[in-house]
Amino acid sequence: MMMSHWIIAPVVLPALVAALMVITMRGDLVLQRVAGVASTLMLTGIALALLWAATTAPPEAYFLGDWPAPFGIVLVLDRLSALMVALLALLALAVVLYAIGSGWDTKGAHFHPLLQFLLMGIGGAFLTGDAFNLFVFFEVLLIASYGLMVHAGGGTRTRAGIQYVAFNLVGSSLFLIALSLVYAVTGTLNMADLAVKLPTLPEGDAALVRVAAVMLILVFAIKGALVPLQFWLPGTYANAPGVVAAMFAVMTKVGAYATIRFGTLVFPPSLSATGDLLSSLILPAGLVTLVVGAIGVLGASTLPRLVAFGAIASMGTAFIAIGAFTPATTAAALYYIVHSTLATAALFLVADLVTRRRAHPRLEGTAPPIAQSGLIASLYLAAAVAMAGMPPLSGFIGKLLILDAFRDQTALVWSTILGSSFLMILGYARAGSRVFWKASALEAQPNDTRAEPLAFAATIGLLVALAGLTVLAGPITDWLTDTAAALYAPDGYITANQLGQKG
């Protein structure tokens, strides 16, 4: 057991650092910044080590309090959870640096502790092997996200935050009902134990299992902003501080991750009670989500709102690939999820660079040119190219992989993905020309000349990561293909839980 206790480090480290920040570093921003960066750097190191361990060794479980599964809570490290934790850590590093560079963390109390609590919640949600524990980590990440969402305050932001909280409380209630149904039918909430017990259930319980499966997918669809449950996202992301919106790019992926995990481990296509129920719901919803997102990109009234709709479109694309539930499509989905997390975050950061410098955030009408317009415009171009899925960046490869995995469904899937990409290219080009070109037609001088080298470095760092994802696409897709194959043969994951063998 090579990694043993390190598996819980992505949960414990941010939790400890956040608590220390609140208790001992209250009001000392410099110390909080140092602790935040140090913690995130350590998290990145741990996440990369876990990624290496998950690649070289079979899945490994961590038994909390050494209680045997399925009675105690387990965390399970496999290739998928290690990948998502590594993605989270990389994104968090960029977000922390951007928050420091842009001064967002000076505009309200407790930015850094809240961010660490958010990392704890998301990391735990990726690692846990227990369905009820997944709910608890969802709540941890949500309550931290409520605080971050209304960071820096303001009437509009607070009221958008109320909608966000109310909507997620309903989602949590649905989650609890679904989990109670699962427990009432199977008598267990350990995900590996569920995978073993569900196929052996009597025929009469199949209807309850189906209801529970659909309700769980509804909850994950709320998190993943899948149509018709996407309407909370534009208002939330557009009104949240730009740097927080960038961090939220990985929160929609929690929904995608949970869908993949439950769709392959707990309710696999081979389970007779659910069969292809999940894919028959998710695939059409993903297609509609993509179209809604693309139209939103074309019609958005502000730059943050445009990126929010871009995020919806990217979730649509990811859910199309997830919804097919075959190893090839899941591998493509994983590549696209990694890409779209980084690309969405980069574009949110660029949008934040623009809106903080510009006289008003609306796309209609002109505003005086902004400081460092040339550099920001080229960053916008790169991020928009990635989001729209044009060559040379990884969005193109991601969409190509998805198209390739859907060779047998060209009519519907290919036309939707290609048509929506066209709409999004138009939308990004329209927004870019309005923000950068119309402004340079005015002769006015920018009134705000902040340098913010660290903020630019963070944004460029995300774009460099996208370039790396493009250059290394070959080895990465090979790795993801193995990951997807392991997801559809979950014996290793189940064995790691040592069900009924541990004394």
Partner: protein, 116 residues
């Protein structure tokens, strides 16, 4: 007893959903509270209804399932905390906007303050 508990859960859910669809934050919060009560009851009965049974093996036969009781404690604490957060945010929104409507009009959407 099953019919009584089931109809109680149904009634709480119906009241919760009705109040959640109101346009002011206070009824919405009350509605969410009712919904969480319904959910808590539902979790509790997912371990089956038993009368005069201890959740300890060996004391009574049949014994009550202790796990849903632990789960419902977790759920109660979480929903309590979340309601408190929502309450504080509702008060903050009410103070800043001067009213407690939940819906946002097109004019006040999308104008995050630009601070220098």
């Amino acid at each position: 007893m099953e019919a009584l508990v089931a109809s109680a859960i149904g009634l709480l859910t119906a009241v919760g959903i009705y109040m959640m669809l109101r346009l002011r934050t206070f009824p919405v919060i009350l509605g969410l509270t009712f919904l969480s009560y319904a959910v808590n009851l539902f979790i509790f009965v997912s371990g089956r209804l038993t009368v005069n049974a201890a959740p300890i093996i060996g004391r009574t036969e049949p014994y009550a399932d202790p796990l849903p009781q632990a789960l419902v404690l977790t759920a109660i604490v979480i929903s309590f905390g979340m309601t408190a957060v929502l309450m504080i945010m509702a008060i903050g929104g009410n103070l800043e906007a001067g009213h407690d409507r939940v819906n946002m009009s097109d004019t006040d959407d999308d104008t995050p303050e630009v601070q220098s």
